[in-house]
Symmetry: C2
Subunit: 350 residues, 2 copies
């Protein structure tokens, strides 16, 4: 048996969710007219339009998503594609909140599409496109030559990337200016007299790894400091790995007196490694670190900190996808977030 009420079309029982048919019955109009009136179609009389919209508001009419989706193919869904194991935690929720904030004022729902263990990052994208499960997609962990971005461009589905690509293709993105971050960080360290600097890099292969490395190198030559290579780990490595490798590095004769770190959690490991080697932050070494939540200064007040706002990133990304869906030019939906100043929480004379 059908799971719904058996009397077909009982407009009197107010219990069921109102549909266009309900509205048509109440206003004495046809469903077509009601449908058009609700979306302000020009061929509907002004008064009729107002009347329909009034009644719709009164009885709390909400278009049935399945109906719309089946008929039009529009899902009213934005998908955020996440790597289940690599994404650093706190930053994910900030992005989600940022995206939500923007979608809240729209008919769009946010669905989280995970991809896990050494799976092809293209898999979830293919799934979304093939099943038509979303009108727009947001991806992160963007690479210079990103198969996912290319695929989505080819298939004409609007998307935005967290981080830029470098394939000569134009698409919406939001990025933090990691080049500028690295430059400012090096300048700051140099200004404190640090001359032998090491960089704890972003994950190799991601676009912002290159940005950061380049900014670091550019600034090194600008200030005339030298680099102590530290490429055995990145912020994607485990806390333990970073810690032990750092300790090894710091026990060598030629060791850095300054670090630039691209993530807060990695910085914790970095400091631990430094202290394992018997050295002291603020005396033997200084560190400039990015962070996304305001906690690092509690960890060690000697840390020099630059904030990266992932909530903002989420909002920008959502706005970009919506803009593209809305017909804006992809090239006009790109934004770059400039790092704020380097923050110090402890006077150097303390």
């Amino acid at each position: 048996m059908d799971r719904r009420r058996t009397e077909k079309n009982d407009e009197t029982s107010a219990k069921e969710r109102p549909t266009l048919k309900t509205l048509a019955f109440m206003t004495g109009l046809g469903v077509t007219t009601v449908s058009r009136a609700l979306k302000d179609a020009p061929e509907i009389g002004a008064e009729t339009r107002r009347r329909v919209q009034l009644v719709a508001k009164q009885i709390g009419y909400r278009p049935n998503r399945a109906g719309v989706r089946l008929r039009t193919g529009r899902t009213n869904v934005i998908s955020l594609v996440l790597n289940t194991e690599r994404e650093i935690m706190s930053f994910v929720s900030d992005i989600i909140y940022g995206v939500s904030e923007v979608l809240a004022d729209t008919p769009y729902h946010l669905i989280v599409t995970p991809y896990s263990r050494s799976q092809d990052p293209l898999d979830p994208i293919r799934y979304l496109v093939e099943t038509g499960s979303a009108d727009g997609v947001i991806i992160s962990r963007t690479q210079p030559n990103d198969a996912r971005a290319r695929y989505m461009l080819e298939h004409g589905i609007p998307f935005a990337t967290h981080g830029r690509t470098d394939m000569g293709l134009v698409h919406p993105y939001h990025d933090f200016d990691n080049h500028a971050f690295a430059v400012e960080a090096v300048r700051r360290l140099a200004g404190m007299g640090r001359r032998k600097l090491a960089l704890l890099t972003p994950p190799v292969g991601l676009t912002y790894h290159g940005h950061t490395v380049n900014g670091f190198a550019d600034a090194l030559s600008e200030v005339g400091a030298t680099e102590i290579p530290f490429s055995t780990v990145s912020i994607d490595h485990s806390i333990e790995q970073i810690r032990t490798r750092t300790a090894q590095l710091m026990r060598r004769d030629v060791r850095p007196d300054g670090f630039v770190s691209s993530a807060a959690a990695a910085t914790l490991a970095l400091v631990a490694g430094i202290e394992d080697a018997g050295l002291k932050l603020g005396r033997d070494v200084d560190i400039v670190s990015k962070q996304s939540s305001d906690l690092l200064h509690l960890f060690r007040p000697e840390l020099l900190i630059v904030n990266e706002n992932f909530r903002l990133a989420g909002s920008e990304l959502a706005r970009s996808v919506l803009g593209w869906i809305g017909g804006a030019a992809p090239g006009s939906l790109q934004s770059l977030s400039v790092p704020g100043e380097v923050l110090a929480y402890k006077r150097s004379t303390d």
Copy 2:
């Protein structure tokens, strides 16, 4: 004009997504038969069934979600309802990952439904129920008398709560045994000779606030220690507030020599406040803290730590909702996670 191909029903062009009609054409059967065959209905011949399923797999048939949803009312969606501003960050992403993990092997999608600024927590629930946007719901920040749980029970939508309620109503939940956590924490502190203990509580009003407070009180009388009241802040307060209030507390004549803290971020503030007052962790005070990601020991090795696994919570919650949707008894879908042992990272003789 229709946005789709104009020739109606061209089974030859392999470009469009296959539907039941496509399968019916290819197998020479009727759509009804195909539909039934795919779901292993008994009145379909065994060979036909195999044949249909083979073809379906070959051409990569996937049921159209909108079609199913419109016809059956089933959305194949689970909604995770989140407070956009209060939820501690890292823990949210862990839950999401946990939920995703379980949903990955099912046809279910995960949608994140946020509610923000001093909004009624019931609003998003009402929205979900009224618009029929999900087959199941997961909520957190559960209260002893939780309007959301009551509402969902009344409206017959399956859900699971992160944390228990106390209304005499039965529903699926997953909870961490915070009573046991507080008990173990107090015992540990007492075992180290700490006699004047303070509790940095969970947010007042949430169920696990009560559990924690009770466990703390029970253990205090068990070990014969006394409580130093510290109820001006909870882990929901800002880092700065916790820090200053802690410093104030620690400057008083009668001050705690041991703390139990319900969250990692709050513990950072706690330690900062203690050190602001010129006291030293491990010497003047000891702290047992919960954490959800494995970082606190890097912050201060003197910290005593109990892990809470939010990823597990997410998985359990997802399993519970799916179980309820699948017809299991709500009472059989409740789980309690017992705290592991208190972890120490620095020998007391160090």
